[in-house]
């Protein structure tokens, strides 16, 4: 059985929580005591109906305000697949939380209210999904019950969204008309929309092909830790512990170490003291090399037949996540893989209006939740791949040196 991580972004008004509640409820993933707890909580509300949204809003302040503030994770499984739902807020002021949630997802559900069609937040959520390189988008055209289950409304929204998707470079888009409130096309097929012949949401989640999204061509292994027992029996044992973040490695493969550029070959691959002939992403393994090479945490071992970029001046898309402004000349710590180095801001090439996609030039500083194309100069060269081809080795974070907080998400584009 495999694993699919997907994100739903939105607020209570969009029907996001109702949709998740429906998915869990109809797939029988809500347990009796959890249901009782929300029944109890629902009774204190005016309408007295079971509020499936209460299942997802975990913090006191979220329940008080009826909004989602931070990302929550939900788990369910069917006989076919195991799912991790990344339940993210949709308001513009929580863009950074959505970016956090989206970073590990393979699929995004973008909710569209059938009455309003493609709206500002549809555009914003789609932009974030595409920027974070999520390969599959499901456009959930919800509240079809409020437009008389009209096929024309559905088709118009599909055409409208397809225009937007073209600008965003999203690989796979699927459109599903539904009513989360009534359960149409979420888990069970809708009887009110016989004209729709596609899959229900759950059918789609269970069958969408995700194996092809894995990057198996660029062997990348950021070294996390060196295992050296230094006991009499294991005197010469020196294993490099890490996770294969993309590609695969075989015994005998020629490898290059970055940033040093030294080369060697793989002598052995171990997982829990068992030897393997080959290993692929996302396995955590221990590598042994044929020759003595100076390697420590922060180094990147790659297969020599696919070299990464290595540069001190890099271009990247940035989501700024701090309340202190991001300005030219500011210094941060940049982390890519297990490698950290200081960097300074060279340039803000342009800011992106998250609702209209318009590029704004001449911007002097970025504020919390802004997206922009930036140029950074690093103290030491960093080794990476363009995010568009490799999410694992093209994603980086910025850390504030004084507060130690993670303040920015970088999708590296290339050398500047």
């Amino acid at each position: 059985m495999d694993l699919l991580r997907f994100i739903t972004a939105g607020s209570v008004d969009d029907g996001k929580s109702t949709l998740i509640g429906r998915l869990l409820y109809d797939s029988k993933s809500i347990l009796a005591d959890q249901l009782e707890a929300i029944e109890r909580a629902s009774k204190s509300r005016d309408d007295g109906e079971i509020d499936l949204a209460l299942l997802t809003d975990g913090l006191r302040s979220e329940r008080e305000q009826g909004i989602t503030i931070d990302v929550a994770y939900r788990y369910f499984q069917t006989p076919v697949r195991k799912f991790i739902i990344v339940d993210a807020p949709g308001h513009i002021q929580y863009t950074r939380n959505m970016v956090t949630g989206a970073s590990n997802c393979q699929l995004a559900i973008v909710l569209v209210d059938a009455r309003h069609g493609v709206a500002e937040q549809t555009r914003r959520h789609s932009l974030i999904a595409s920027l974070l390189g999520i390969p599959h988008i499901v456009v959930a055209i919800n509240k079809m019950d409020l437009v008389d289950y009209s096929q024309d409304v559905f088709s118009d929204i599909c055409i409208h969204y397809a225009e937007l998707a073209q600008k965003l470079n999203v690989k796979h888009v699927t459109y599903i008309p539904m009513s989360a409130l009534n359960g149409d096309n979420v888990v069970d097929r809708s009887e009110s929309m016989p004209w729709y012949e596609g899959q229900t949401l759950l059918e789609h989640l269970e069958t969408v092909e995700i194996a092809d999204d894995v990057n198996l061509t660029q062997g990348r292994f950021p070294v996390q830790y060196v295992i050296r027992p230094q006991t009499p029996e294991l005197h010469d044992y020196r294993g490099y512990a890490g996770k294969i973040t993309s590609g695969q490695f075989r015994k005998g493969d020629a490898i290059t170490v970055f940033p040093s550029g030294e080369t060697s070959t793989i002598d052995a691959i171990e997982i829990a003291e068992t030897h393997l002939d080959e290993a692929a992403t996302p396995m955590s393994v221990v590598l042994h090399l044929a020759t003595d090479v100076d390697i420590s945490r922060g180094d990147l071992i790659v297969r020599s037949d696919s070299q990464p970029l290595s540069s001190q001046t890099v271009e990247a898309m940035l989501c700024w996540m701090d309340s202190k402004e991001f300005k030219v000349g500011n210094k941060y710590v940049l982390q890519v893989g297990t490698f950290r180095t200081r960097c300074s801001v060279r340039e803000i090439a342009y800011q992106v209006n998250v609702n209209t996609y318009e590029q704004i030039e001449g911007v002097e500083q970025l504020r919390l939740n802004d997206l922009a194309k930036v140029v950074l100069r690093t103290a030491q060269p960093i080794s990476f791949d363009p995010y568009a081809t490799n999410r694992a080795s093209g994603g980086a974070i910025l850390i504030d040196e004084t507060s130690n907080v993670t303040v920015g998400a970088l999708m590296l584009v290339g050398e500047a």
């Binding site: 913090l59 329940r63 994770y73 956090t100 973040t245 974070i397 993670t406």
Partner: protein, 300 residues
């Protein structure tokens, strides 16, 4: 090559443990002898052998633990040859003159936090690895894998650091510490399936056995160790039970069960309609935000 979901979860957890080893100077692994922390130790063996663990095992003993779990804890530390540090809530109560909760359903669960914070200070631990899972409870569903706590151990849900891809930021100021949850993304069922797959031994109380209990507020509470004092209206019974979670005797209820093998336990969990903490933990049922409030106070 397609990895099974358990392989993916395992790899993710090993990666997180190695990040702790790589980023911190004085980490610790909190080990209670319960199934989740036993799983953590198994993952640590996979992450660091043939080397030694880069951290000791630490147990905060409330004095209200099941003897079976304590015996298991000591035997495990002995077998794998790793250092075990035990600190006692009893000592903290005496030294700090803490007032112990009294009354019918009194538990030391909350006092654990004092001993934990003292132990963190004593050894200057900068990271504590724990076996909490996001599926357990709705406040936990919101917590990061690397959860930064201030010097009082407090969790501030509104000021969580962004956590992107598999890049974990463990940079902290002196006095702060990080709670790290490598099995955040595992469910109860995942843990059991993994234990079965890896043939991990568990303390006997996870499997059905005959036991003396008393029925209180509809829950079956163990009389072992005299932790819970029977009162006049408590009914003493002997039942065939097992424990779905193993916490303090004072706040962990038993479930009637005939499941005496891993297969039978897993079948039972798959069929159940009640959540793990809902069935067994008295401490979460205090209020809608019981866990959130305890975490803000420094609880794991």
């Amino acid at each position: 090559m397609k990895l099974d979901y358990l392989d993916q979860l395992e790899s993710e957890a090993i990666h997180i443990m190695r990040e702790v080893a790589g980023q911190f100077e004085r980490p610790a692994l909190l080990f209670s002898g319960g199934k989740d922390s036993i799983t953590l130790v198994h993952l640590a063996l996979k992450a660091f052998r043939p080397g030694k663990f880069p951290f000791p095992l630490v147990h905060i003993d409330t004095g209200h633990n099941f003897q079976e779990a304590l015996d298991y804890r000591d035997a495990m530390a002995e077998r794998i040859g790793e250092k075990l540090i035990v600190r006692y809530v009893e000592d903290t109560i005496r030294e700090k003159k803490l007032k112990e909760p009294t009354g019918r359903n009194a538990t030391r669960n909350g006092l654990q936090t004092f001993t934990l914070l003292d132990t963190i200070e004593e050894f200057e631990f900068d990271a504590c690895i724990g076996g909490a899972r996001r599926d357990e409870e709705k406040a936990r569903a919101k917590e990061r894998v690397f959860s930064v706590r201030d010097e009082f151990g407090s969790w501030d849900p509104k000021r969580q650091r962004p956590e992107l891809w598999n890049l974990y930021n463990g940079r902290i100021h002196k006095g702060e510490n990080v709670r790290v949850f490598p099995i955040s993304n595992w469910t109860e069922l995942d843990v059991w399936n993994y234990i079965r797959r890896e043939k991990i031994q568990l303390p006997s109380i996870y499997f059905s056995h005959d036991r003396e209990l008393l029925i209180r507020d509809g829950k079956l509470m163990a009389t072992a160790g005299g932790v819970i004092k029977p009162e006049a209206d408590d009914q003493l019974v002997t039942r065939r039970v097992r424990f779905r979670t193993v916490g303090d005797i004072s706040c962990t209820a038993a479930s009637e069960s005939m499941a005496d093998t891993l297969d039978a336990v897993i079948d039972e969990i798959q069929a159940t309609r009640i959540s793990e903490r809902g069935e067994t933990r008295m401490d979460d049922q205090l209020s809608e935000a019981a866990m959130e409030d305890r975490k803000k106070g420094g609880y794991f």
